[in-house]
Symmetry: C2
Amino acid sequence: MQDVLKVGIAGLGTVGASVVRLIAKRDNRLAEAAGRPIRVTAVTARSRRKDRGIDLSGVRWAADPVSLAADPDIDVFVELVGGAEGPAREAVEMALSKGKAVVTANKALLAAHGPALARKAEAKGVALNFEAAVAGGIPVIKTLRESLLGNTIERVYGILNGTCNYILTRMAEEGIAFEDCLKDAQKLGYAEADPTFDVDGFDTAHKLSLLTSLAFGTLVDTKGISIEGIRSIKPVDLRMAEELGYRVKLLGVAQRTADGVEQRVHPTFVPKDAAIAQVNGVLNAVAIDADAVDLTLVGPGAGGDATASAVIADIVDVARGHRTAPFIRPVAALTKPSRAPMTRHEGGYYIRLEVVDRPGTAARIASRMAQNNISLESIVQRRTGPVRGGTDPAAAAAPAPVVLITYATTEAAVRRALKAMDSDGILIGAPQVIRIERD
Amino acid sequence: MQDVLKVGIAGLGTVGASVVRLIAKRDNRLAEAAGRPIRVTAVTARSRRKDRGIDLSGVRWAADPVSLAADPDIDVFVELVGGAEGPAREAVEMALSKGKAVVTANKALLAAHGPALARKAEAKGVALNFEAAVAGGIPVIKTLRESLLGNTIERVYGILNGTCNYILTRMAEEGIAFEDCLKDAQKLGYAEADPTFDVDGFDTAHKLSLLTSLAFGTLVDTKGISIEGIRSIKPVDLRMAEELGYRVKLLGVAQRTADGVEQRVHPTFVPKDAAIAQVNGVLNAVAIDADAVDLTLVGPGAGGDATASAVIADIVDVARGHRTAPFIRPVAALTKPSRAPMTRHEGGYYIRLEVVDRPGTAARIASRMAQNNISLESIVQRRTGPVRGGTDPAAAAAPAPVVLITYATTEAAVRRALKAMDSDGILIGAPQVIRIERD
């Protein structure tokens, strides 16, 4: 049996503590599987005194992440500090420069500096593993890096943020307004005090940018992502979705198109019988469409143990001496993605309009759609009463919305049609436009 | 860049041809990912003349699988011949004895000889990879071998046979009888002329035996599996399932219990909103319940390209020099599983009885259940008419069945209760008993 693999962990929050606990619990099993013992030998965290419910006897404390990363007596540096800059970045750079393998759960860091860090890892011939950075306990990074190499991937999409999925699930099931749901999620610890990062789609975008790179062999391009969050979703949209045979999910979608790589994060109508539509609460899911296989992977996207499971898998790969290029191929072989503009996006749309109550309005809507070559799958107009147990104060007093489901069309056509209706003076307020994604 | 990895393929059926085609198609991408070119350099198949729609120019033909396996000029031997004995086994043993890595899709071979072959691979320090042997294009072997090592696994279960899932899906959707559905499946090429291996559960059992070993660190124990196929399932069972909030799937289930490892293959009621309940047609799915994560993986369980995708992933691992013990830990560390007897199985049950039409029958049923401490979640008795479009000749004339859904109880208790009812003379024909599996 080979030497012990010495692991240094920076950050002992929920995930870090779980990593320490699960490595100790699975000690013999991990050694059998990896062919060598795996031990956490050094850590660093803000407080040494906090009771984390884990045994740290015999574990050295480093002063800070950077000095832990530089410690000659660790083999692999596990970064669980977080943040795209500052100590996390400095420590990861230090570890790589010292020729140490790095395992990180930090999607913000990788979205910002992934290729640069990968280049450093390549130069030193060490691993940079980040299974935990996307979809927590779901092994999607390994699946893309190792299991689908015989495939040409056409699309990868998923529910990548548990907070948003929790909120949308509760809004749909209980008819609650976004704000109330968010408050509950904050109380339960599913949402941060400042929820922007989650509910406005940035977290999903960071994760998507990594999936895109792995799926299409392109440089990470977070700036090329069109991002919409879930704040604008109303209970009426969820009711209409249910009625029309859909569920609403915040998806990150990356797709190969004739115009380049399309990357987008937005609330999405998904058919009710699609596998991804059944993914509720804080669960995550990733679907991959390729020429040889279509896969859907469902599991926990966050949580200490689930994320730790992914971190430990990355550590075992290092112990086994299995090293894969962080983005599958050498950074020099990654291409700059040509960005497909959102105006060229093609798909179906859910459009909810509040319109003036006068004769000819419906005809005008229909003709504006027709003028832009948009075919309608359904059109629904009726006063929708408040939903059972609903707390949406607007529902009872809302004017009758007109809801349209279109067949595949382009984003540009939809925008033109809506602009024309606005000029016609038939719209009250801004239209709600939600893209439909088919499985 | 390292030397070319020279691949020899025995068997050029649908899967073998797809492997050749996809390796050629992804040539550069595979080389970038693996760090070395991957080439199919030698093959063997029954006919050299058959047009397989693939380019075999420059590829050597070996006389038979065993001589291909012994060929000093190949690095990895891909066995796609099939069968637990004969040429497949001999060739794999030959390749391993020559110190060559082996990739195989042959679940029958591994179910029968997995540990013995793994011991040979270990002794020579070469890979024995079999991602394609279970659930086709779904990377469940890699997930168990590499991604979940930080977990203690409690249960692994899945839809592992596309033929059965296709038949059950059509029976449910169209109300067709098993025999008619099977005939259609045979016409469409989804079922063999002799369907026993699929519909009686043996194929599922072979795959399950491998998952059990990987999940629990036990020696492959195919003989320890309780096996029931789907021939006894009637359209009325699928109708009742729908009505009671379930779907019927042929599952393979392996579960850690206080009495040992429980391995079983049987038609199963799964809650309609479970992820696995949405898996229809020829798709496969595997669910893994562990202490840190619960995962569900859904994808194609068969088909040339999907299976080839898994074979290629295994080949790339060899090219990358990534070697994992076939059953995660050394064969010497695998334990002999203590078999949990099915009589101790605990769970809910669907029980459909045909009973004599006389006063007191319902009371007698209820008291026999109560005497065996079986609590009932629901009891349904009514004449069910033939389903729309149904072709089940028995449906119209069938006596009113009594359907019971029990809360968790033991198999032994259910058997005792049914035996008592039989002695009471109230049963007509054999009762239908289907286990319920909760997610």
